[in-house]
Point group: C2
Chain length 363, copies 2
Amino acid sequence: MSDRMWILSKDDVDYIALGAGVLGTGGGGNPYLGKLMVQRAIDQGARIAIMQPDAVADDDLLISVSNMGAPTVSNEKLPSGDESSIAFRALERFLGERATAVVCGEIGGSNSMTPLRVAVDLGLPVVDADPMGRAFPELQMDTFNIGGVATTPAALADEKGNVVILAQTSTALWTERLGRVVTVEMGGSAGLAMPVLRGSQLKAAGIWGSYSLAHRIGAAVRKAQREKVRVELALAPLGGMLLFRGKIVDLERKTTGGFARGLVELQGFAADAGSRLRVAIQNENLVAWRDDRVVATVPDLICILDDNSREPVGTELLRYGMRVCVLGFAADSKLTTPAGLVVVGPRAFGYDLEYRPLAGARI
Amino acid sequence: MSDRMWILSKDDVDYIALGAGVLGTGGGGNPYLGKLMVQRAIDQGARIAIMQPDAVADDDLLISVSNMGAPTVSNEKLPSGDESSIAFRALERFLGERATAVVCGEIGGSNSMTPLRVAVDLGLPVVDADPMGRAFPELQMDTFNIGGVATTPAALADEKGNVVILAQTSTALWTERLGRVVTVEMGGSAGLAMPVLRGSQLKAAGIWGSYSLAHRIGAAVRKAQREKVRVELALAPLGGMLLFRGKIVDLERKTTGGFARGLVELQGFAADAGSRLRVAIQNENLVAWRDDRVVATVPDLICILDDNSREPVGTELLRYGMRVCVLGFAADSKLTTPAGLVVVGPRAFGYDLEYRPLAGARI
């Protein structure tokens, strides 16, 4: 990994995908399929460069990419893989200007891989940054929007040849609403290119080092797997805090209002014997209560890992009897400002709770 | 009315709106509100010019406009009036080229007035042509699509400041599908600008003289109203054929699948005493059966007028006991070619019927 430009190896991609799975906090979609596509491209000679944010010029044009839609759909309706590249190019044509680099719209989950695929298609570098540092379910829930970057123009593309541009919207929530109905009509999943931003905006509003962090997390988990070390010990140097270790004893899941909602309940063992932890889910793990006391809330990260395999477990893969380890990571400070909490705090998800920074966690 | 450029008076606008009501064949929305807006603009000094199609240069850029959505919504959620102008300008910016004139997307119903309002906003002339010669419920049901004009790019705008561009679609039906969900999310009604076409395409694929025809129909109806002449006599020289005169004795209406569907049944009187006429409705009047014999089918026009007031009656205004006169008009020949009937024939609306030209009608 050079100081300014980092060319990804296949192992790097494996670590990033694994780390992105942890940062997905139960949502964001499984990066597995995207990882295979990117690794195959590297096998075929693709050279994917990650550049540091401070290497971007202030007036460089950047476009962020992701996949919009329910992750469960993307797992079954396989993307052709170039939807986000098509959306990216459509925005460039709309603007009449070429972008110099690709930005990741969401480091958590499968969207960590989307910019790498666009980079392969278009021969552009990817900036080591994102606007979430995790996964969130809605398009406006990110530090670019919180930091005042316009959510339009935005482009959506599907595998059938349809391209829609949201040229202008009255608010960021309207970008989400219109993008959502177009995505649903496109079949539940679409390539998304947005927002458009200048290098100066990325540097001010973005979260730096997202790919590096995912890579470090993934490498640490792989090492813990090889060496049979407890995963919370491996992740403690990267900010991971053990919230609970236990067995899933109750699990409710339903899909309503476009969200996968649910509640998972754990019975503690080892140091947590005698306690219970409940985690509320809306695509991602959002709030954790230990014996009715709140111990973690969104936007802090609540990550559930399989205690045997040490792999992150998406909410759709939780099952009764599974032994898991629940880790917390502090959210990026841009998400926990008063303006940030309006967009991504517990109340933005309908919980009548104040955000409280992770506390009482231990390694 | 000069040979090439016709400046509309307030009376002209009244005649056009009334004639467009007849050509709406029960659907297309009531032109009344749009008429008032255009007449007020003329009062305030606006000069609206209608130009003949042969005055358009072959390489002139033209953009067609209309309002997309359920007419019943437009009657209650009043448009600010400039949605279609905003969509028009958005398409020009997308294309990087200015249009020289406005084209009417649908002469039947309220969309006859939409281009006149755009003409006022943008200071452009309106071409005396449209691609339907009537009203149809879906965006791809027109002679531009039948004649091979691409349905994209298309732009939609609402009164809240949202602008969406359908940059590219795989088929015309996808333009309809994506435009429809965006319109619904915008609140059920949106300004639409599409298609973009060159003067040569308009001349080849358009229906010429739509505003002139609406004007002649409206003027004839107003004259019949003043002189208490039966409306079928007034409209016979313009192609109107009396299909039936009777009283509404049964009426079913429901809104399903985005359409206002229904069936109206008439008991004949005068020369039609002893007979019944049934008319099937999907936004527009689509098929008429006289005593179980098909006497008219889409795309021919089936127009229901109030037998007392001589005003056209939209399907939403039909009521039990109303005495009406049902007229047929032959569809433009571009709609009744084999390629045209695939798009706008009875089967395109789900009727297991062959199109049969109006027959057995009489004045």
